[in-house]
């Protein structure tokens, strides 16, 4: 059982390394867009600081959404997915491994890059730790939730728009509590509450998403 999980995990990390130029796309997108904000809006640090928590979270969400479409696509196109479905191993564990890889190559780098970009948007000092913590959990929720949408639309030729429509409403709780965590910290309020909600969201999606994704993949393959 554990074998399928670790084999997929290591194979996909190797594949991600081979495709590192593509994999870097969401991170580069995040970097470019956030860099453009001070240029397009205002270089004034007091006004930037006001919108920094929201901007950072929205852009991280979009960057994650950008990459989630490809989560199962290459596996579907080259027949690997068909092979995975008929392996005598639980599909949800293999799916969980793929989600973990997605988070490791997008969510984690986005989280690590965010403080740097926060500095560019003159995010107040109190916001950095909550920003990292909320993104660390939040991007994992985004990968888990996005996987369900990616699995549902994998067999469609142009599933990108549909995927956004399916996934966006499900992203909202993570965005609301993630951005408000940072905002509250900046305003000097305690953040334990909203971090706890994010943690609960993560726990819930960790429980539900692998099963839902595995089911959605089977449905997509049968069509």
């Amino acid at each position: 059982m554990e074998l399928g999980f670790s084999a997929i995990l290591r194979r996909d990390l190797l594949l991600a390394f081979r495709h590192r130029a593509e994999i870097a796309n969401p991170v580069i997108f995040f970097l470019i867009v956030v860099t453009l904000i001070p240029l397009g809006l205002t270089p004034e640090s007091s006004r930037l600081a006001e919108i920094a928590p929201g901007i950072l979270w929205v852009m991280a969400l979009l960057a994650s959404l950008l990459s989630v479409e490809g989560m199962f696509q290459s596996d579907y196109r080259d027949g690997t997915l068909e092979q995975m479905i008929i392996l005598p191993q639980p599909l949800y564990l293999m799916v969980l491994a793929k989600i973990l890889v997605h988070w490791l190559v997008t969510g984690l780098p986005l989280t690590l890059l965010a403080p740097l970009l926060g500095m560019m948007l003159s995010l107040p000092e109190a916001g950095y730790i909550p920003l990292i913590l909320s993104l660390l959990m939040g991007t994992a929720v985004l990968s888990l939730v996005g996987a369900i949408g990616a699995a549902l639309t994998v067999a469609l030729r142009k599933g990108g728009l549909l995927l956004s429509l399916i996934v966006m409403p499900l992203y909202m709780p993570a965005l609301i509590f993630g951005a408000s965590t940072v905002q509250r910290a900046v305003d000097g309020f305690p953040v334990d509450g909203s971090l706890a909600v994010l943690g609960a969201l993560l726990a819930f999606s960790l429980l539900v998403s692998p099963f839902a994704t595995a089911g959605a993949l089977r449905v997509s393959m049968h069509g």
Binding site: D78, G79, Q83
Partner: protein
């Protein structure tokens, strides 16, 4: 409705060739046999039991090579084989490089599959046949893009497997030079409907 009245039963050592015109449902039939699709009617039996009861055991004994064999383009044939073996928990003591050499890919072990020709990619996928323990092989058009010499090598590989007591179901338009091969001809009756000259609803019984 794609086909009806299809009934096949395989014993140890049998090779079954599924043939028929394009679009008659060969791939669909094979995908049903691998449980990737579920039939709208009929049943699939493994050792006399319905597949839903013995699915895990059945999948342990199954090797499937589809149209798209699941090769990762960024990986070399050897890496592809290694990961396939890990996922399938293949314990065969057959060296990967030996398998690739026998399948005709010596010298290409470390070239990414994206740089190989269609025939070489097919061979890289077929190398799995040498490192599997599964007795039942389901091969969808295994001869696609393979050269003449490759075809005869593959034929001897299939014969060997059948002599060891393995079972093979394959779809191909090629006339195979394997003695004692069973044939299942799907024929197109009217548009989108295929029937078979045998009786009873869809049953596949694999001993």
């Amino acid at each position: 409705m794609l086909f009806s009245d299809v009934s096949v039963s395989l014993k140890l050592g049998d090779i079954l060739q599924v043939e028929g015109p394009n679009g008659c449902g060969k791939t669909t039939l094979l995908r049903i046999i691998t449980t990737a699709l579920s039939p709208s009617a009929g049943q699939l039996l493994w050792q006399g039991q319905n597949i839903s009861q013995v699915r895990q055991d059945y999948l342990h004994n199954l090797l499937f090579l589809g149209h798209l064999p699941g090769l990762k383009q960024a990986l070399s044939p050897e890496e592809n084989l290694i990961w396939w073996r890990r996922l399938n928990q293949s314990q065969v003591e057959y060296c990967n490089s030996e398998a690739l050499a026998r399948i005709g890919l010596s010298g290409y072990e470390d070239v990414p599959c994206s740089n190989l020709s269609a025939g070489q990619q097919r061979r890289a996928a077929l190398a799995r046949l040498l490192v599997t323990e599964a007795p039942l092989w389901v091969l969808d058009e295994p001869f696609t893009a393979i050269d003449k010499q490759g075809v005869s090598e593959l034929e001897s590989l299939l014969t060997e497997h059948s002599e060891r007591g393995g079972m093979i179901i394959l779809s191909t338009h090629q006339d195979l030079g394997i003695p004692g091969i069973k044939r299942l001809s799907l024929r197109q009756e009217s548009l989108g409907q295929t029937a078979l000259a045998q009786s009873s609803p869809f049953t596949v019984d694999v001993a």
